[in-house]
Subunit: 474 residues, 2 copies
């Protein structure tokens, strides 16, 4: 009998459990290029579902897809100083093209603000051309020393939105509107309750005026930054000479936003929902939403019925039928490990009763369902499973968000209770640095929903108006 | 009054007409990186329609999408000799990562056979793992000295399929099956009649045993290779040590195929269908299938009716409504230049008659259509326009395919009549080279439908069994 490959239990070794799932659920594989992974079909299909959701959302709100070069001339890259300093240490640089040394070396894009702004200069002339709302699906390269599948890698897949607006107010609104789209991706597709907020000046994106983030809380108590949006003001645009003739017949510089989420979200899904037995995929993002496993089906009439059922369900759901020669037990644990939300067990006795057995991945709940009710029941189950997963993740996040005014409590919060500390912060970078020095923790963001619970900074005791979410992070 | 930007007439200067369309129909823009273009929204949207069609076709036949690194270590690249020699002259090479010189330099992928085969080594163990049917959507880089938008560039978007099979027969069948999918893309989406055939040994892909191509005939009489599929035998797999345990319990090397089409197809669409007034897009691939242009609509009741019509049509078609303040005349020529297949003109009198005026891009045919019949009529028109465009292109191709047995006729075919010469060829590379030396023409392919019309080679007169399609080419 073939045995399933065992994965480390989450409760035993979280880090090893994570990489076991990545490999054994066949989400990814290591490649021969250090730090670069291979997105295998099952992992890539999760990304495709995320793409489908976001692409529709972006287009609904008037965004258009484009594609810009994957290389940036070094001379152009150097035009916006803060940006260069932020990215230069982690760039991959091409120096040879067609067997000749390049005069202007080419940086493999780590992000594309530079190329977009350069392009905007050529296509924006009048206020009538604004806003310009662009998005690009591509991969970017950031040369990393230590990498982990999906969480940190030298190349990752992402979308990057780049927009230009008549006014700063509009550009900032765009950055906040997209943050809401990302939140919706969490609650509607990934069953992850993100916390939206603004990054501190220290943590903001190189060259941005304001950076906003969505943060997710992992079961080891660490936060994972899962997406960011940026408001640039007109700094980038001015550096690249983008101008437009406004309604009042004067030349002005437009205001800019950019925003992105990446395949890091796959890491978020794995960690937030997984359990000792492997991956647990939220139903709406699962590449296989249900697996049909025939049990001891030997007669061809029964087989035909099951084939019919498979074809019927396939028109509404992403279904896999596994009628291979492997044992039912092997299949059960295989699809459990792969996190398939629903399993349909079906044998001659079920067929005689015109029913199947439906088993949920999330809690192993078994239900016998009449064939005639199956489509309806699956639809209900998917919604129920999604809601349960979101509730569970929200409960975990809420229980691990500790509102405190006492610096002395922080150590216990970060090291025993785990999770977020919600504290008052005066805005001084020195106090911010203290979290790092003492606890290896950082201000994840200043939540958009600000409900001050005190009026003095948890570090220095001076006047504080800002609520900060502090945690250790990936 | 704002005037439309004029484009050069096709009949006056074909090359200039082509680049005018690329720029002025806003399909692309040049970037600050020499040889690298920007795919603007209207051009990228054409690619998205091609992607949608092909992705569905690939998945229907069991293919899965994956994503592999965009860089290939030089040491790995050197494993398959023929392949290296084919691609080395046009590679872009990264030599610096994270400010340090790389020990093993990284080639920006010109194509991914190397990485796929390396990955296959790790995931293929048994005949049960076969076939492996993968596809990847990405961009590739080939360092080109002279470039033309969509036709030849240092970076282009494409899909690359890579598959492994138990037997050579199966792998070769895959290469031919996909060629059929590409043919279908031509007849069903692009309204282009491709000629499928096999490349000569001289023209085949670096490392392949057999290369097949789809060729399209442009109105200047030149052929454009629009897609290729390759059968590799087991050469690549052997070089990379891919093996599987077969049913007979012996270790064997699997057989491989790869195949791809690129954004070059956009160039094909432009040239095959365009006319003096600009782009003419086949309806099923057009990003805007119909444009609604309100004319002298001043009363708000009329405007509401038009809005309702717009929303209704949008549920079935890709529709744009242009109610900007520009003149109707400007709009007519703008969307004409952009190749929108159908235009709906609608004014107060039309509304009073519960009708609209429908105008076809392809021949300016005007029809007054009752609002209640509009959805049905549009559907019929789209089919009719598509069929007309395919017929026209097929007729052009057929009229410019000259079957000949006389070498003396070739000059007139290639330089006056233009198009393909269908000739008998003995298989000798020397005779093949003669076409190039004398006429700057090449054997495009040996059509799959072989109907010999003579038994001696058109060049040397020796025995010839193969029908070859010869033409000048892009």
């Amino acid at each position: 009998m073939i045995k399933n490959e065992a994965i480390t239990k989450r409760s035993e070794d979280f880090a090893k459990w994570y990489t076991d799932i990545c490999k054994k659920a066949e989400l990814m594989d290591y490649s021969s290029v250090k730090g670069f992974i291979i997105y295998r079909p099952y992992g890539y299909a999760i990304w495709e579902e995320i793409q489908k959701y976001l692409d529709a959302e972006f287009k609904k709100s008037g965004h258009q897809n484009v594609y810009l070069p994957l290389v940036i001339p070094e001379s152009l890259f150097n035009l916006e100083k803060e940006h260069v300093e932020g990215f230069a240490p982690e760039t991959l640089i091409a120096t040879i093209g067609g067997k000749e040394e390049l005069e202007d070396r080419l940086i493999i894009r780590p992000t594309s603000e530079v190329l977009f702004t350069d392009h905007f200069r050529r296509v924006i002339n009048s206020y009538r051309d604004l806003p310009v709302l662009y998005n690009q699906w591509c991969s970017v390269v950031r040369w990393e020393k230590t990498t982990r599948p999906f969480l940190r890698g030298s190349e990752f897949l992402w979308q990057e939105g780049h927009t230009m607006h008549r006014t700063g107010r509009e550009a900032k609104k765009e950055a906040l509107d997209i943050l809401k789209v990302y939140e919706g991706l969490g609650t509607k597709l990934l069953a992850i309750p993100f916390v939206s907020g603004e990054k501190t000046p220290k943590e903001k994106f190189a060259g941005a005026k304001n950076t906003y983030s969505i943060e997710a809380l992992m079961p080891d108590g660490k936060a994972l930054q899962s997406g960011t949006t940026h408001y640039f003001g007109d700094g980038f645009a001015a550096a690249f000479g983008v101008k437009f003739l406004d309604k009042d017949a004067t030349l002005k510089v437009p205001h800019q936003s950019s925003w992105g989420v990446s395949t890091r979200l796959i890491g978020s899904i794995i960690m937030v929902h997984g359990d000792d037995n492997g991956l647990v995929l939220p139903p709406y993002v699962a590449p296989i939403q249900l697996v049909i496993i025939p049990i001891r089906v030997e007669n061809s009439g029964d087989q035909k019925q099951i084939d019919r059922l498979y074809r019927r369900l396939k028109t509404h759901y992403r279904v896999k039928m596994d009628d291979s020669s492997k044992s039912p037990g092997w299949k059960f644990s295989e699809y459990e490990m792969k996190g398939v939300p629903l399993r349909i067990e079906i044998g001659p006795r079920d067929l005689a009763n015109k029913s199947v057995t439906l088993v949920r991945r999330i809690d192993s709940k078994k239900t016998v369902v009449l064939l005639q009710d199956l489509d309806k029941v699956i639809k209900q189950e998917m919604k129920e499973i999604h809601d349960l997963m979101l509730d569970k993740a929200t409960k975990y996040k809420d229980e691990h968000t500790t509102v405190t005014t006492k610096f002395s409590e922080l150590d216990a919060i970060f090291n025993d209770k785990l999770g977020y500390a919600k504290v008052m912060w005066c805005g001084d970078p020195k106090c911010e640095a203290t979290f790092k020095e003492k606890f290896q923790a950082t201000i994840r963001n200043l939540p958009l929903k600000q409900v001050p619970h005190d009026d003095s900074c948890i570090v220095c005791g001076k006047k504080a108006k800002k609520v900060a979410l502090v945690a250790k992070a990936y």
